[in-house]
Symmetry: C2
Subunit: 129 residues, 2 copies
């Protein structure tokens, strides 16, 4: 069985950079929708909505199934897992933030007590290279 095509993560993040497309994904999370159903809530022409659906399709975020003249769309979440994972890499930076800030502040206090010349700002995980 041929492995599924993995779209570039550029396309995934690009697809997510528009509110209309994010809204369409939410709708699909509730269940499959036709193109018309996806377009209905958005104050734009059907052709414009159709273009958005094509962007989602190109990003691999939806798959369509055509039944007669009706195009059914289904959420394909796998590329979202990839994007989620990409962002997960930075989790240490938003969860560890308070610890790091606290440590930096304590180091700063100690430094001031020693009357040492100021040094450059540092990253959470150590000095600049």
């Amino acid at each position: 069985m041929v492995e599924q095509y993995t779209p570039p993560i550029d396309d995934v993040f690009h697809a997510l950079s528009d509110g209309t497309r994010r809204s369409m994904l939410r709708a699909l999370a509730a269940g499959d929708c036709t193109v018309g159903e996806l377009a209905a809530p958005h104050p734009m022409s059907l052709a414009a909505a159709s273009k958005h659906i094509k962007v989602l399709e190109k990003a691999g975020l939806i798959r369509r199934e055509i039944e007669g003249r009706t195009h059914w769309c289904r959420l394909q979440a796998a590329p979202l897992a990839a994007a989620h994972s990409e962002l997960g890499f930075y989790e240490q930076f938003w969860t560890g933030r308070l610890d790091t800030l606290d440590r930096l502040l304590r180091e700063d206090d100690a430094r001031k007590a020693r009357d040492i010349a100021p040094t450059k700002p540092q990253a959470p995980e150590g000095d600049r290279q």
Copy 2:
């Protein structure tokens, strides 16, 4: 104390939709960098790299600190948490996928055994509305 500005998630996902900018964020995860350091690995003009840094800044993903003529950049991960959370909403769809597929396949087998007419494809969490 004034609350920090929260950039639109459009801007965050847009910032992430380019490989150069994702690469810059990775570099910043290793430690603060100057604009020149961020630009160095990328085969493009300094002005182009500077534009990318501005996009990251607009998305709230980095903050800069100017020391003389040197601009130091630091990762700001908070907007990534928001984006990560947005994607986390869909976790049930990529983790539950195999369970759902399995259940659908079993339902399909049962339906075939009863010789029922085929029905429309369904979302993981139930029928279409």
